[in-house]
């Protein structure tokens, strides 16, 4: 009896420990419960703006509404006018470049390329009234558009190609009396439609998020966290937390998962440890563009084809525009698996006027980081690949004038003349144009932060820890178990096993044969 006591005791401990390890939950439930109750309470406004006499009147101009706002909120406009939402530029320190003032105001992208000369169209999404060219007065407080972000009536819309002015159909009195904390609908109106259509730019921010379910985005889903954008992108004096690295350079003012979930939200320490080198998003956003497709590639060089002398559009079966005479050819994708890069929170950019090297594709923005960088983590990104115009003589990626109200003003979308379009654009930004243009491949990196999936859909270990099509197969500057091996050790190791088997096999055969022989001799 005693003889079995110790082994069976040890076995029992082993089995118990084994069961306890596999039944452990991966998330500390109390933390999630706390967050749910904290963010489940929706804020009730302390005032009813419809009762203020200042707002019980008809407004002939939106600037009058702003003046009425400032009448009570008498310093808020200065905060807004200090924000990147207003200035479309920030002071940024860029590695190797020094301090630069960069933002939508002056940075080129590889979608519609840039706002300069196109303000009337692009700046529909500026939180101001009337930024239609360089003469816009950034010091005039009455030009601040409070309503774009604070309309809670869901009736406020900005006019198409109206340089940020409201659509004439908007009843300013109704809107002014129903203002409040920004909702998804305020932010989404611009941020879901960047690049000229739904989900064109980000891939993880699109109109489906106005009202979605948990499978798409656990945070914003009405049957999930039901969070507003500003629950995470909190604001202090109108300075929003978070920014996108297509325009930003510095590791500051980031909106992070950790601000709510902490740095070690899992009970499994092995998974917590991953957090040192792997961003939460990497595992928890297995794919983006889960509802509608996002633009993955844009080829400007094919623009300008005509049908019966007229510009035209072609669409795929899902209604995505695959060719437009004014813009060229597009590739759209749905349910896209992100690409992965190291990222330490700093980025550099192609700045207008930089001469490009012969190395293509041109990196419109570069996310910095490597395995050896203690601040860097692996993050998921959407890479948008484009072919866009540049000047082969000056080596500038060019700013074309695309938008125009009428033909003959130089806007490519009306005249379909690159030369004149680039001429107008480059003159406007104060850079020379040689008169020759060509097209160059470019890439732009968009960190993926939204469309977090339910935990059951998180990326499985094996999707990265495998030598066969690992999600992070492109990141080779470190050793990863399951993906990497040393060829010599592998060869020698397998060799040793094979040799052992062979040796044992041959020995056994000879042994059996000689035994038979000796038995025969015996007889």
């Amino acid at each position: 009896m005693k003889r079995f006591l110790i082994p069976s005791l040890a076995l029992a401990i082993f089995v118990l420990y084994f069961i306890s390890t596999i039944t452990k939950q991966d998330i500390v439930p109390s933390q999630i419960e706390e967050l749910k109750s904290e963010y489940g309470e929706k804020i009730r406004p302390s005032v009813d703006h419809s009762k203020f006499s200042q707002l019980k009147k008809s407004f002939s101009k939106p600037q009058e509404v702003t003046a009425a706002c400032i009448d009570c909120h008498n310093e808020r406009h200065t905060e807004v006018m200090n924000s990147s939402h207003w200035n479309w530029e920030r002071e940024e320190y860029i590695e190797g470049r020094g301090v630069r003032y960069i933002g939508k105001k002056n940075i080129l992208n590889n979608f519609c390329i840039g706002i300069n000369t196109n303000e009337q169209s692009c700046n529909k999404c500026h939180i101001g009234y009337g930024w239609e060219d360089k003469s816009f007065d950034f010091a005039n407080a009455n030009n601040v558009d409070c309503l774009a972000c604070h309309d809670n009536s869901d009736t406020y819309v900005k006019k198409s190609s109206g340089a940020g002015m409201p659509d004439p159909s908007v009843n300013l009195t109704t809107v002014a009396q129903k203002v409040g904390k920004p909702t998804k609908s305020n932010c989404g109106t611009c941020h879901f439609f960047g690049g000229g259509g739904n989900n064109v730019k980000h891939g993880d921010l699109e109109k489906a998020l106005f009202d979605t379910h948990r499978e798409i985005d656990v945070h914003m889903a009405s049957d999930g966290g039901n969070l507003e954008c500003v629950d995470c992108h909190t604001a202090e004096r109108h300075q929003m937390l978070g920014k996108v690295y297509s325009l930003s350079s510095m590791n500051r003012n980031r909106s992070t998962c950790e601000q709510c979930h902490g740095a070690t939200p899992h009970t499994n320490e092995v998974i917590n440890e991953h957090g040192v080198k792997v961003a939460c998003q990497t595992c928890h956003i297995p794919e983006y563009a889960k509802v509608n497709a996002t633009k993955m590639a844009w080829d400007w060089s094919t623009a300008g084809k005509m049908k019966e002398g007229k510009p035209y559009e072609e669409k795929d079966s899902l209604g995505n525009i695959t060719y437009a005479s004014i813009k060229g050819t597009f590739i759209w994708k749905q349910n896209v698996q992100p690409e992965y890069v190291w990222f330490n929170g700093t980025a550099s950019h192609y700045l207008t006027g930089d001469t490009i090297s012969s190395e293509t594709p041109i990196q419109m923005n570069t996310l910095h980081g490597s395995y050896d960088d203690p601040d860097a983590k692996i993050i998921p990104v959407k890479v948008h690949r484009a072919v866009q115009p540049y000047d082969p003589v000056t080596k500038f990626v060019v700013q074309p004038k695309t938008f125009a109200n009428r033909e003959g003003e130089g806007g490519y979308w009306k005249d379909f003349d690159w030369n004149s379009s680039i001429q107008h654009g480059m003159e406007y930004v104060g850079l020379p144009y040689s008169g020759h243009y060509s097209f160059v491949k470019t890439e732009m990196y968009w960190p993926i932060n939204h469309m977090v999936s339910p935990k059951t859909k998180a990326v499985a270990c094996k999707e990265c820890h495998t030598s066969n099509n690992s999600r992070v197969g492109n990141l080779r500057d470190f050793y990863m178990p399951g993906r990497d091996y040393n060829a010599t050790v592998e060869f020698m190791g397998i060799g040793a096993i094979v040799m052992s088997l062979l040796g044992v096999g041959v020995h056994a055969v000879v042994r059996v044969a000689s035994k038979k022989q000796s038995m025969k001799n015996h007889i």
């Binding site: 003889r3 499994n268 203690p374 820890h465 091996y485 040393n486 592998e490 020698m492 190791g493 042994r511």
Partner: protein, 205 residues
């Protein structure tokens, strides 16, 4: 010829626990390595780590046992009869020659076993334990942490651990075969299960 207790109760417990653990660590380990697919990667990691801790406890017990019983002396290497033992395996065994060394309860290992088991004890197992613990407890370099605890990368640790694992697989293959070379093919196995083995009587020599 008489039946003698060769392997004490703890000796057998230790041997079989060790064999189960090493095979289990091998299965889960090679699954993590990407060579097998059985438990699933995440389960394999959890099980591998759990088994590793149990193995550590077992090693602790075994060390205690070795020193309190003096069993460690069994593993003192000797060159005496070493050549004879090798020759026996290479040729003698086919001629039905007698074992060059006599197995007794006091000296149950032949010179080749002494050498190989000692190498396991002082080289392979320590390498696996140390590299395994580093595998589990290494910290990536973090700006605010203690520099000396940082390990820049897993590569060296992982390669050492993998190499050790390959060695152990080869060892198990050879071991499983060589235990059939006793008086009868199953004599050694039976002895390790029951503890008793029929040994040549000292006086019969």
């Amino acid at each position: 010829m008489k039946k003698q207790l060769v392997y004490s109760r703890f000796n057998r417990f230790w041997h079989w626990m060790q064999s189960v653990l090493i095979i289990f660590l091998g299965l889960t380990g090679f699954e993590i390595h990407g060579s097998l697919s059985f438990f699933g990667f995440d389960q394999a990691v959890t099980l591998h780590n759990t088994a590793a801790y149990i193995f550590l406890v077992l090693i602790g017990l075994a060390i205690f046992w070795h020193f309190t019983t003096g069993e460690w002396r069994q593993y003192l290497p000797t060159r005496q009869h070493l050549r004879a033992q090798i020759e026996y395996y290479l040729t003698g065994i086919f001629r039905n020659a007698p074992h060059p060394t006599r197995k007794t309860a006091i000296s149950k290992l032949n010179p080749l076993q002494k050498l190989v088991y000692l190498a396991l004890k002082i080289l392979v197992i320590p390498i696996m334990v140390v590299s395994g613990l580093l595998f589990m407890y290494y910290r990536y370099p973090q700006s605010s942490s203690i520099q000396s605890l940082n390990i820049d990368g897993l590569e060296a640790i992982a390669i050492l651990h993998t190499a050790g694992a390959f060695f152990l697989v080869s060892f198990i293959i050879a071991h499983l075969y060589l235990i059939t070379t006793g008086h009868t093919p199953t004599a050694n196995l039976k002895a390790m299960i029951t503890g008793y083995e029929v040994l040549e009587d000292e006086h019969s020599k």
